[in-house]
């Protein structure tokens, strides 16, 4: 790992908007980029922007972006100094990180041991309890035993959340309001867990009503310091997946905010975290915060943090991975300015969330000061059913939340996405929703708004 400032070439083991976003920083740092792509992605912009691109297989991720050996072989052949995994795909795969390191290539992220311990929700939870970090009442259910799950639920009280121990991104997670629902969802959750995450091990926890999802961007430097880059509120969700993230979090008292940031740093320090990571937390109606999970990678919504702090997180990641110090030594040197909101533009029906693959015949988002668009597709590209439906992220920055919303409204109105359905109409509708305007929303709010409930 003693490579000093020598990073000249980097392979990106990812696709779409995040690959393009990493390329942007690499260009700034004068690092050459190598990308891989599947047959379905041959026309995407990130391939044209990279210095070199390799076709690695058919569309299905299991036959392309998840082929560890093939990706590693390309990195070796290209004499890449490092591999950036982006988010999703291989980003939290400890085995891959280990293989990369063993090949003498820098893996941009924390150590394989940390990826492993935080990737296993049960282990992560134990580690956090030992470190004194508050967690939601819950129980591991490694053998996926229904009776044990029922017992826990009756003691903790319904509703409960049932999820894959190794899961993430809201996949394989289901809320059960009573014993009947728990019984009904048990087998399918187990099967989904097996299919998506390679293990039938389940986790059951108490469901916190009207919870907010607030997370903290943290960063561990090469000297063992852990800094936070403030929080992001990611409570606007559909299907347990984020669609809007903002920073700072609205409607959060200063003392609760300080507590959340403190918990996050403590959590990251307790594992000796290095590089970029996120501590996800659940915040209840009394502003109590509980550790949910740690993401040992760059997050989809990292631009929100970049917009308020002016920091390029990918640049920090690359430098830290090659043993270089951060440009700051003290927490107080990280400052925030204004308000930022990210909107995830999905190719889907805006109100039923049914995916809408197809040809993107038009895609235009107005540019301007304080408007950042991280896109994965452009006009003329085909959005295929093989991957997540996200086609772009629109990030708006302004001096205040009010201004940010005003600007957002205009950007949504002027955006043109045609040929397939997008969720822009949902964002437009949300601009007029009281809950969003006031910043007073939780993870069920979107669903309630769509149901027409006043809550």
């Amino acid at each position: 790992m003693e490579r000093g400032m020598g990073m000249k070439k980097l392979l990106i083991a990812n696709r779409g908007e995040i690959a393009l976003r990493i390329i942007r920083t690499c260009k700034k740092m004068k690092i050459q980029t190598v990308v891989v792509y599947s047959e379905a992605d041959a026309e995407l912009p990130y391939i044209k922007e990279a210095d070199k691109a390799y076709l690695i297989g058919p569309p299905q991720v299991s036959q392309s972006y998840l082929k560890m050996n093939e990706i590693l072989e390309i990195a070796k052949k290209e004499k890449a100094d490092a591999i950036h995994p982006g988010y999703g795909l291989l980003s939290e795969n400890a085995q891959f990180a280990r293989m990369v390191e063993e090949a003498g290539i820098i893996f941009i992220g924390p150590s394989p041991a940390i990826i492993e311990s935080m990737g296993d929700k049960i282990k992560a939870r134990k580690t956090m309890i030992e470190a004194g970090v508050p967690v939601v009442p819950g129980q591991e259910n490694e053998s996926a035993d229904l009776e044990a799950a029922k017992l826990f639920a009756s003691e903790a009280g319904y509703p409960v959340m049932l999820k894959a121990s190794n899961g993430g991104g809201g996949v394989g997670m289901v809320r059960c309001d009573n014993e009947q629902a728990l019984t009904q969802h048990f087998e399918s959750t187990k099967k989904r867990s097996q299919a998506y995450f390679g293990s039938g091990s389940l986790f059951i926890e108490k469901y916190i009503a009207n919870a907010r999802h607030i997370e903290v961007q943290i960063f561990g430097d090469t000297n063992g310091n852990v800094f936070h880059l403030f929080e992001r509120n990611c409570s606007m969700q559909r299907r347990n997946q984020k669609i809007i993230e903002e920073a700072p979090s609205p409607n959060l008292s200063q003392s609760a905010r300080e507590n959340i940031l403190e918990i996050a740093v403590l959590a990251a320090e307790s594992v000796g975290y290095k590089n970029a990571g996120t501590i996800e937390m659940i915040v209840d109606e009394e502003e109590n915060a509980y550790f949910l999970e740690m993401n040992t990678r760059l997050q989809v919504e990292h631009p929100v943090t970049e917009m308020i702090t002016g920091i390029d997180l990918v640049e920090w990641q690359i430098n830290t991975a090659q043993g270089l110090p951060l440009p700051i030594q003290d927490q107080h040197e990280i400052t925030e300015q204004g308000h930022a909101i990210e909107y995830r533009v999905y190719a889907e029906d805006p109100f039923t969330f049914i995916p809408s693959p197809g040809l993107l015949s038009e895609m235009e988002v107005s540019a301007g000061e304080g408007i950042r668009v991280d896109y994965g597709y452009q006009k003329g590209n085909k959005v295929t059913p093989f991957y997540d439906p996200m086609i772009a992220k629109i990030i708006i920055h302004a001096q205040s939340r009010e201004e940010c919303l005003e600007k957002s409204k205009k950007v949504m109105k002027d955006s043109k996405i045609e040929g397939l359905k997008s969720n822009i109409p949902l964002f437009t509708a949300l601009m007029d929703a009281e809950e969003f305007k006031r910043g007073n929303y939780h993870t069920q709010t979107l669903q309630n708004i769509l149901k027409g409930e006043k809550k």
Partner: protein, 70 residues
């Protein structure tokens, strides 16, 4: 011929019926996975499953016949 077609392009995630099973209108017979989302495909009418044209893991296009009802 009573056919159940795929409502969209995706991968067959779960087959919920077997040949010879009787199904009722509105019953979910197959779950597709598209863009990381599970999409249930329902029978449009009552009937008996005559033939299943796909297997779990198969990729299907919009309009492909998944199940034929007898």
């Amino acid at each position: 011929m009573k056919e159940i077609q795929s409502s969209m392009a995706g991968t067959v995630f779960q087959l919920l019926v077997g040949e010879g099973d009787s199904v009722t209108a509105g019953q979910t017979v197959i779950v597709l996975e598209s863009m990381k989302m599970e999409i249930p495909v329902e029978a449009q009418m009552d009937g008996t499953v005559g033939e299943i044209k796909v297997a779990e893991g198969d990729f299907v296009n919009e309009g492909d016949v998944l199940v034929v009802l007898a």
